[in-house]
Symmetry: C2
Subunit: 400 residues, 2 copies
């Protein structure tokens, strides 16, 4: 289909065409492009070829240094762009840039039932594992946008206040319970006006595309700080996303039936069309002394209980406005099997058992020098639609 | 001191010189200015007069449509600008604009001991009023930046999910417990790099100035959603700030000793210099049928337990990065006397008694058409340093 050679296991097949921001050695100016195989199509160079009814008047969005302007044009524009791109391919020696978007607000949901149940059992016991509101609405909270970074950015172990012994005063020091969270997130495209909700029937038109996300967490800091207003410093020292935004159009062929929701959600959260996606997910850890990374989690995005449509409808039902570049994340994705648990908190069952890394190594939480990589892809017949790696290495705390 | 006539009770005396964004009938372009009496000094027109060692190379910041660039220059630049401004005054017929800054991340703290105690007594009883972490660190959470609006913007009553009867399923409808929160907030000036905390000794240099804030709250939505990840839709449908940013230099003459903190905070939160401010605060409500607004709260910013230096040092101690234009808010400010309680939740003691508005009117929570105005000022000898009004009117819910 393309003159670019694409391996069968490439994340970036013709069926994908994810958007990103890149620069080249010869031209360091950040500009937007589309990944295809191991090449990047520079959209600025071919912007005059977007001559369809919507884009002909907005070719300038392809010359921007971020994706926000394209996202803001809305669903019809994205479909039109995708149609043009399928016909056009060229090659460039390129390096990825970190500013995919000018990110604004960031929401983190808590929409995996297995994850919420696991955490509930650990902290409140089996009888009260799920809070009363959990099956009624997609619980979420506002996260920190400033500390969202792109794959490859090192993550410094945070200093902070914690209370390891509840009988003694709190102490200050480097976190001893550095964890990962396997998540996915979607970028909002066109936004809404303050005071005017996005109904669930229109939600898809506002969802631009998806990335992988590692929501690094310091469990000891989080445990001490989070009552009653939620996570804060235990989460906002770094959140890593994968560098390419995979359009929803590329993911729709991998849609499958939604999970049964009982009790039935209120009407503003109800939709019958499938919006659950079969995306294979993996987490690997490579310690300083290890030759190869060890896979510690095999999961799938299909394990989500609440859909992205439900999340966006809920986020805006009170009139809250979303804007192009806003990011809404799934929360930790865990499946029913222990190997699919999406955090070390769950994999080590709150530190009570060790996670085997092979080569004689093991972990309960992360050590300095550990490299964590999230990967994910949809498997088609002879091709993949993938995300590229979401990678970060833990560097030692800055001692004061 | 100035050729502009300034009334003794003007918010904008020569001792204030707050920054804002304005436009005029003749020139609708948004630009930055300084309020003086009932006039505005256009900083773009006089930018060539900023010839000091820092600003001479950065005169362009005064030609920007927001304050972010000036904020980002840092403390020495702000002091230099203030020195120049005290010598220069001119007049313009002007209207205020809403985009004071390109706002980015927004944090809301919970730093009034009386407020936290009142809420704790109502929801958990007198014995467990303050959570164990409250006296150890400034509890806070991430708020929504997109829905921060400037004084005068109408606030639509939000629709949402709530559970008024815990024995029955949740219901959907307009909030019946619309409340205000009397807060103040500060803008971050120069930021820090991800991974590099701002030590408390340097915090003042990163704090640009302050505004009044009304953190509108839907108590019924909040009560049902907030466990375990904190407030979300109960808070993010609108947050109003006053239009002028009062520089910290203008507030320093009104500093007073900090409250005694027992237990003594950890070293990263400890500072001995006073950073508590004597700012008189008022909340008034005017119903549709009322001729005059009724004052429902008289309070003072000096009632805060945690200082802004402590808030900023805590926010960044884990390496979280802040950026010019970030907003950090106090949380509801309540004092020891019932008349100083900063929310209707407290003033009506969770709806159990009515708040007298005179003229035969009363409230427990807000009605459609109610106009709420926050005002605040420091009282000098024969002059004031004030904030201008922080105003909003409740408009009816958008029925689906």
């Amino acid at each position: 289909m393309s003159f670019v050679k694409i391996e069968e296991d490439s994340d970036f097949s013709m069926h994908n065409l994810p958007f990103g921001v890149f620069s080249t050695r010869d031209n360091p100016r950040p500009r937007i492009g589309v990944a295809i195989g191991d090449q990047i199509l520079d959209l600025g160079v071919i912007k005059h070829l977007f001559t369809g009814p919507v884009l002909s008047a907005h070719q300038d969005v392809f010359g921007q240094p971020t994706l926000n302007a394209l996202m803001g044009l809305g669903h019809e524009a994205w479909k039109e762009a995708r149609g043009v791109l399928k016909k056009l391919l060229s090659a460039n020696e390129s390096t990825l840039r970190d500013d995919v978007t000018l990110r604004r607000d960031y929401t983190d949901f808590y929409s995996s039932r297995d994850h919420a149940t696991n955490v509930g059992i650990m902290f409140r016991g089996k009888e009260n594992a799920l809070m009363p509101n959990w099956l009624r609405l997609p619980v979420g909270y506002h996260g920190r946008a400033s500390s969202i970074v792109v794959s490859g950015t090192p993550i410094r172990r945070p200093m902070g206040q914690m209370r390891p012994d509840p009988e003694k005063p709190p102490v200050f020091g480097p976190s001893k319970q550095m964890d990962i969270e396997l998540e996915m997130a979607f970028f909002v495209g066109a936004g809404n006006k303050l005071g005017e909700p996005i109904p669930i029937e229109k939600a898809h038109e506002h969802i631009f595309g998806m990335v992988l996300m590692n929501d690094w967490s310091a469990r000891d800091i989080q445990a001490w700080e989070y009552v009653p207003l939620g996570p804060f410093l235990g989460k906002n020292f770094g959140t890593t996303i994968s560098p390419w935004v995979v359009p929803m159009e590329a993911l729709l062929p991998f849609v499958q039936p939604n999970p049964v929701q009982d009790p039935k959600p209120l009407p503003y959260l109800s939709h019958d069309d499938p919006y659950t996606f079969n995306i294979n997910l993996f987490v690997s850890v490579k310690g300083d002394a290890m030759k190869e990374a060890a896979t510690i989690c095999k999961s799938n995005f299909k394990y989500m209980y609440w859909t992205m449509k439900q999340q966006l409808a809920h986020q805006t039902v009170n009139g809250c406005n979303v804007r192009p570049g806003d990011l809404l994340a799934s929360g930790t994705i865990s499946g029913p099997d222990p190997e699919s648990f999406g955090s070390m908190l769950e994999l080590s069952w709150r530190g009570s058992k060790s996670i085997d890394l092979g080569e004689g190594g093991s972990r309960t939480f992360l050590k300095d020098g550990d490299e964590v990589t999230l990967t994910g892809y949809c498997q088609g017949h002879g091709y993949r639609v993938g995300f590229g790696p979401c990678h970060g290495k833990i560097i030692p705390a800055l001692q004061q």
